[in-house]
C-alpha cells in the first residue's frame, strides 16, 4: 500500500510556491481576491482550509503560532488546527496574542493591538462581499473591475429604509485603500475598526472558494456607511463578568432556562491576561442569578 509521507507544514513545495505567488499579488493589490488552485486538505472545506493553506505557505521553524476560533484558543477547531501545525511543522505554539508571530483566526480579531511583523491569517468562508446580492462570479468580477459597488449601497440603504439601521452585524463590508470592496470574513462589525491602519499584515484565505486576499500594514480600511447613518460598533453594554473589561467583545453565556445569562470576553487570552493582572468582574452580571457552572 502507498504509505503516505508529508512535507514540512504538510503542503508540497510546488503548492507552496503557487500560494506564495498569490499572496504577493494579494499584498500588491490590497483587497483584490487573487484566484489560487486551492488543494484538498486533510480537514473539510469550510473548516479553515484557506487559512490553513496560507499559514502553511508562510510558516517557518522560527515562527510562534496562535490559533483562535471565536476569539478562543480552546475551541475544538482551533485546537485541531494548532495540533495539525504542531505535528506537521513542529512550530512553537502560544495562546498569547503578543508573543505570536502568526495568528490564524476564525471570526475574531484579537483585542490586544497587533504589532509590526505579525501576520494575522483569516479563515474565510465566502470571500465575495457581493455574493449574496449577485450569485454569479462573472458578474461580481465585472463589478470589481469597474469599482461598481452601487448594488451594496442600495442594499445598505434598503436596510435603513426598512429597519432604521444597516442590518449587517458581522461580515460587514469594507473598502480597502479606497478601491476594492472587501468581505472581512464573518467577524463581528465590532472588530472592523481594528483592520484600519493596522501594524500587522492581514492575509485572508478562502479554500473552498479558492481565493486569497490581503490588507498590507498601515492601509486604509473603511466600513461602508452613509453620512446620516455612520458606521457604529456594537457591543453588549456590560463589563466582562470575569475580568471587568468594558471595551471587549462579549460572549453571551446562557446559565439556566429561566433567562439567566452572563457576559464574558470572547477573546480568552485578553481576559486571562487581565485576570492575571488583578482585574476582576462581578461574576454575576446577569439579570437573573446564574447557577454554578463548572
Amino acid at each position: 500500500m502507498n504509505a503516505p509521507t508529508y512535507n514540512f507544514a504538510y503542503l508540497d513545495e510546488q503548492t507552496k510556491r503557487m500560494i506564495r505567488r498569490a499572496i504577493l499579488k494579494a499584498i500588491a493589490i490590497p483587497g483584490y481576491q487573487v484566484p489560487f488552485a486551492s488543494r484538498e486538505m486533510p480537514m473539510p472545506y469550510g473548516w479553515g482550509t484557506g487559512g490553513v493553506q496560507v499559514t502553511a505557505a508562510i510558516l517557518g521553524p522560527d515562527d510562534v503560532l496562535k490559533v483562535i476560533d471565536q476569539g478562543s484558543d480552546d475551541t475544538t477547531n482551533a485546537i485541531s488546527i494548532r495540533k495539525f501545525f504542531g505535528k506537521t511543522a513542529g512550530v512553537a505554539t502560544t495562546t498569547s496574542t503578543t508573543d505570536a508571530t502568526v495568528i490564524q483566526t476564525r471570526h475574531r480579531i484579537p483585542e490586544a493591538s497587533l504589532h509590526a511583523g505579525q501576520v494575522l491569517v483569516y479563515q474565510v468562508p465566502i470571500p465575495e462581499p457581493l455574493r449574496f446580492l449577485e450569485p454569479r462570479e462573472t458578474e461580481t468580477r465585472r463589478m470589481h473591475a469597474l469599482a461598481e459597488y452601487g448594488l451594496m449601497h442600495v442594499k445598505l440603504y434598503e436596510d435603513i429604509a426598512r429597519f432604521g439601521h444597516i442590518a449587517t452585524a458581522y461580515a460587514y463590508p469594507v473598502k480597502v485603500n479606497a478601491r476594492y470592496l472587501m468581505d472581512p470574513s464573518p467577524t463581528p462589525k465590532f472588530d472592523n475598526p481594528k483592520m484600519d491602519n493596522c501594524a500587522a499584515l492581514q492575509l485572508f484565505g478562502a479554500g473552498r472558494e479558492k481565493r486569497i486576499y490581503a490588507i498590507p500594514p498601515y492601509t486604509t480600511v473603511v466600513s461602508l456607511d452613509f453620512e446620516d447613518h455612520p458606521f457604529t460598533r456594537y457591543r453588549f453594554d456590560a463589563p466582562c463578568a470575569l475580568c471587568g473589561a468594558d471595551n471587549s467583545y462579549l460572549d453571551e453565556i446562557v446559565t439556566d432556562d429561566k433567562g439567566g445569562r452572563m457576559f464574558v470576553c470572547s477573546d480568552t487570552d485578553f481576559c486571562e491576561q487581565r485576570q492575571a493582572a488583578g482585574h476582576h468582574g462581578t461574576e454575576s452580571a446577569a439579570p437573573h442569578k446564574e447557577k454554578a457552572h463548572v
Binding site: 476560533d69 471565536q70 485546537i79
Partner: protein, 367 residues
C-alpha cells in the same frame, strides 16, 4: 462561579477513541477486510475511485472502511491523499474503442458490429430481496465463451462515418489539457474542465440534474448511443524515453449519448454528443454525466441556456460533494460570535419596534 469551558483537546482525543470503537462495532463480529470490500462492495469502491479521482482499489476500500461506509467521507479521504501525491505527467489518452469489453449496450441500434453484450447488470433483475444472500450463498459459476476477436467500434463512430453525428470536437493535440486541481477555475470554462468537474462530481447531484433535463429543464432528447464497460490499456509517454510505455490496464465505463440534432442554413442537421466517463462500473454516473455534459454545451451549440443543468457556473460550483459537504457541515462549528452580533442587532430592532408601537398607541389613546 462560572469557569470558561476548557479541555477541548481531551474531548477531541476521547471523541476519536470512541469513533474508532464505534467503527469496529461489536467485537464478536469478524472484522471486514479490504479484500472483502474491494470484491463484494465493488461498485462502492468504483464510485470512491471516480469521485476521489484516484485509481487505487485498495486505498478506496480502506477509505470506505475508515469512513464506516459513508461514501462522501471516503471520497474525501481519497482526495486528501491524492492532493499530496507527486505528479509525473499526464498519460496518453486512453482508447476506449480498443476496450476489452465486458458489457456493451446500445439503445439506438438493434445490433451493432461486435454485438450487444449484456454483461453483469442489475438491469433485468427483479428487485426482490433475496434471503439466500443473507449467508453462505455460493453462486453458480458464470457461463463462459472464448473472448470475441471481433472489433467493437464505438456506435458514435459508426454514425460519424455517415456524418449523422457531429464530429467529436478534437482538441489541439499539443494544447495542454486543463486541470482544475492545479489551476483555479474561471468562467466560462472549456469542455475539458467541465468534463473533469463532472467526472469528479457527486453522482446524486448529476443524477438529479440529468433527470431534470429529461423532464424539460433544458431538454436535449437523448438516446443512449452506447454504454460500454471493460478494461483499457493506460500508456505513459516519458519525455526522455521517447515512446509510450504501458502502465497497465484499468476498468472504465463510457457513455456516449446521442442527442437532439441541430442544423442551420449553412450546416446540415446532425446529432450532437454528450459524454460520460468514469472508473470501474459506474453506469448511472456516466449516463448522468453525459446528459449534463450535453446540457452544458448549450452556449457552444447556440441554444438558449435557461435551465439549471445548462448553467455551467451553477453546475460546476455545486457539483463537488467534498466542497458541498464541507460547507454544509461547517455549520456545526461554533458561530457564537457572529450569532451574538446578530442577536444584539435583533434585540435593538425589536426594542425600537416596541417603542414605536407604544408611542403610536399612546398617541391614539390621547386623541
Amino acid at each position: 462561579m462560572y469557569v470558561a469551558v476548557k479541555g477541548g483537546e481531551r474531548a477531541i482525543e476521547n471523541a476519536h477513541r470512541l469513533l474508532a470503537h464505534e467503527r469496529r462495532g461489536d467485537r464478536d463480529v469478524p472484522e471486514v477486510t479490504l479484500a472483502q470490500i474491494s470484491e463484494q462492495l465493488a461498485l462502492g469502491v468504483d464510485r470512491v475511485m471516480t469521485e476521489g479521482s484516484l485509481y487505487d482499489r485498495e486505498l478506496a476500500a480502506l477509505a470506505i472502511k475508515q469512513a464506516r461506509g459513508d461514501m462522501i467521507e471516503a471520497i474525501f479521504l481519497v482526495r486528501a491523499f491524492r492532493a499530496t501525491l507527486p505528479r509525473f505527467g499526464a498519460t496518453e489518452p486512453v482508447n476506449t474503442g480498443a476496450m476489452q469489453v465486458r458489457r456493451r449496450i446500445s439503445s439506438t441500434f438493434k445490433d451493432v458490429p461486435g454485438g450487444q453484450i449484456l454483461g453483469p447488470t442489475f438491469d433485468y433483475t427483479h428487485r426482490l430481496l433475496d434471503p439466500q444472500l443473507a449467508e453462505g450463498f455460493v453462486p453458480e459459476q458464470p457461463m463462459t465463451a472464448d473472448a470475441s476477436q471481433a472489433a467493437t467500434p464505438r456506435v458514435t463512430d459508426i454514425l460519424g462515418r455517415d456524418g449523422l453525428i457531429e464530429s467529436s470536437p478534437q482538441a489541439d493535440s499539443d494544447a495542454a489539457v486543463g486541470d482544475l486541481t492545479r489551476e483555479p477555475l474561471s468562467f466560462p470554462a472549456d469542455r475539458d474542465l467541465r468534463l473533469q468537474n463532472l467526472a469528479r462530481g457527486d453522482e446524486g447531484f448529476l443524477l438529479a440534474l440529468g433527470y431534470s433535463t429529461q423532464r424539460g429543464y433544458g431538454r436535449n432528447h437523448p438516446f443512449a448511443g452506447e454504454i460500454r464497460f471493460g478494461e483499457v490499456e493506460v500508456e505513459f509517454s516519458a519525455e526522455d524515453v521517447g515512446f509510450a510505455v504501458p502502465l497497465g490496464s484499468i476498468e472504465l465505463t463510457e457513455c456516449q449519448m446521442v442527442n437532439q440534432f441541430k442544423g442551420s442554413t449553412t450546416e446540415a442537421p446532425c446529432f450532437t454528443r454528450g459524454y460520460g466517463l468514469a472508473f470501474g462500473q459506474s453506469e448511472r454516473k456516466t449516463m448522468s454525466m453525459a446528459l449534463v455534459d450535453r446540457a452544458l454545451r448549450a452556449r457552444e451549440l447556440g441554444e438558449e441556456a435557461e435551465a439549471p443543468a445548462q448553467d455551467e457556473e451553477f453546475v460546476m460550483s455545486h457539483s463537488d460533494n467534498v466542497q458541498s459537504t464541507g460547507f454544509v457541515e461547517h455549520l456545526k462549528l461554533p458561530h457564537y460570535v457572529d450569532f451574538q452580533s446578530e442577536l444584539g442587532l435583533l434585540r435593538k430592532l425589536r426594542q425600537e419596534f416596541a417603542e414605536a408601537n407604544e408611542a403610536v398607541e399612546m398617541q391614539e389613546a390621547a386623541e
